[in-house]
Amino acid sequence: MTDQTALFEYLLRLGDNTLVLGHRVSEWCGHAPVLEEDIALANTALDLIGQTQMWLGLAGEVEGAGRSADDLAMLRDVWDFRNLLLVEQPNGDFGQTLMRQCLFDAFHFELLTGLTHASDDRIAAIAAKALKEVTYHLDRSSETVIGLGDGTEESHRRMQAALDLLWPYVGEMFTPDAVDDAMHAAGIAPDLIAMRARYDARLKTILSEATLTKPDSSYAQSGGKTGFRHTEHLGHMLTQMQWLQRAYPGATW
């Protein structure tokens, strides 16, 4: 793998994570449990879509084949997506959505913090901008997980169920592969193993305040960031997200 190929793959991972999660979160618009949450969810989705424009824009530039951020978002099929399995999981109830958000935000925060020191200035600049937004995302999702975990009996039960359901998707975030290694060696990506220790420490605090129990399993599903095997959910999301571009090829909107 050349450095350019690895960089392109890596940027797709960054942009596809924010695209797919942003899309999922945007599905809530108008349906949240309370008005303030509706606004906060839309805000999170907006931040993530904005980050997608930057990451996929840069990916297109690095690829040099004339593909724009929109081309990459709207005209690739499932096997070309490089997002983590975690972010393509369906919203479920509000607790499941916020648990998914918290598990991702804590990872995203560490990742972007590392990327602000990237040897590539373009990546460092995007990471610095995104980090401001993600710091807020993490504050909010962790506070909500704590509030609902340590709320009523029912909210506690639902949050524990959400954690149990999503836990198998945590491991993929921290399992390095050839792309991660090449990017780390190039001085771009942070060391995932060192990141995991900080992630675990933060999560321990959050879960303890939320009175939730970390599942006793380290089994990790994989196949999202390599594109080898996504879940069935992603294809359905893409049929909706890409529909207009696919149905009316070449039109401008």
Binding site: L19, H23, S26, E27, C29, G30, H31, A32, P33, V34, L35, E36, E37, D38, I39, A42, N43, A45, L46, I49, G50, T52, Q53, L56, A69, D70, A73, M74, D93, F94, G95, T144, I146, G147, L148, D150, G151, T152, E154, S155, H156, R158, Q240, M241, W243, L244, Q245, Y248, G250, A251, T252, W253
Partner: protein, 325 residues
């Protein structure tokens, strides 16, 4: 409009106080929450502001319907931001209503069980991407007609909410028109979608202003109190006069064969919408009334455990803090 057919409440207050109150309004003073106001003024405002707030909230649904299908990342972001603004408008308006002594939860329950209404326009479906253009251009355009003058309404909190809302609404209208321009200048299929959207949204947009109210006693009282600033007919005329040239610029045809410029009145003559359809929509028989209310009820019911959980957590934290002191 976002608040339609709000009949003003009768008021039985001390005539001297009423006269003093009217004098303040006539002098252009703002009425603030803790000041004396006639009961009818308070009740009418609660209904009007509440209905306006509900319209913002239910109004999220027809546009939310297209967020996951927006054709580009930029369009998706703009639409999300717009729908988020609407939730924000709902929030300011519920806050304004709360200053009159009614809680957001009380108002919400009245929406959910059908005691309070929201604008008829949100009971129409959004079927193609061009509808996102038409909603911004026509629906927000109609809303602005009413909301701009309401910035001068007599009730302070309502007036201040309107100032904030108007700034955002004019951005919404422009983005809607921009979508229509792209479609109208686009492929044959896009042009067809744009014309189809105008065909479906033209009359429902005219209905937004409500039936003619020039002889209505209720309207006269609301106008005297500066809760209502113009008659429905005045606003509708202004809307048509503004919108027809915009449609012409887009190369689209307003679906009204009787539409023509009237030199004498300096405005267009146009066909009235079918008011029997309007009253059916208000009664609950519009194309989407059932879905819209069901969606709001589902969001509220499904969210009960979340609201309860967060309240319970907040109570635990307060108790722990008290115990530590």
């Amino acid at each position: 409009m976002y608040a339609q057919m709000v009949t003003s409440e009768a008021t039985q207050d001390d005539p001297q106080k009423l006269a003093q109150f009217q004098a303040r309004i006539d002098a252009g003073e703002k009425i603030e929450p803790k000041e004396w106001m006639p009961e009818g003024y308070r009740k009418t405002l609660i209904r009007q502001i509440g209905q306006h707030a509900h319209s913002e909230i239910v109004g999220q649904l027809p546009e939310g319907n297209w967020i996951t299908r927006a054709p580009t990342l930029e369009r998706k972001a703009i639409l999300l931001a717009k729908v988020q603004d609407e939730a924000g408008h709902g929030l300011y308006l519920y806050c304004a209503a709360e200053t009159l002594g009614v809680s957001r939860d009380e108002l919400t329950e009245m929406l959910l069980d059908g005691r309070m209404k929201y604008s008829s326009i949100f009971n129409y479906p959004t079927l193609t991407w061009a509808d996102m253009g038409a909603v911004g251009w026509l629906v927000d355009g109609a809303a602005i007609m009413n909301q701009v003058p309401l910035q001068r309404t007599s009730y302070g909190p309502y007036s201040r909410a309107m100032v904030r809302i108007c700034k955002e609404e004019s951005f919404h209208q422009r983005q809607g028109y921009h979508i229509m321009m792209k479609m109208a200048q686009g492929t044959e299929a896009q042009k067809k979608m744009a014309q189809d959207a105008l065909n479906r949204f033209w009359y429902p947009s005219l209905m937004m202003f409500g039936p003619s109210d020039k002889d209505s006693v209720h309207s006269a009282q609301s106008m005297k109190w500066k809760i209502k600033m113009n008659t429905n007919d005045e606003l509708r005329q202004k809307f048509v006069d503004q919108t027809v040239p915009q449609a012409e610029f887009l190369g689209l045809t307003v679906p009204d064969k009787t539409l023509r410029w009237n030199d004498e009145k300096g405005g267009y003559d146009f066909a009235e919408p079918d008011w029997s359809e309007f009253f059916e929509v208000i009664k609950g028989n519009g194309p989407c009334n059932t879905e819209r209310l069901a969606a709001r009820n589902k969001a509220w019911d499904d969210g009960a455990w979340v609201r309860d959980g967060l309240m319970a957590h907040a109570a635990k934290k307060r108790a722990a803090k008290l115990a530590a002191e």
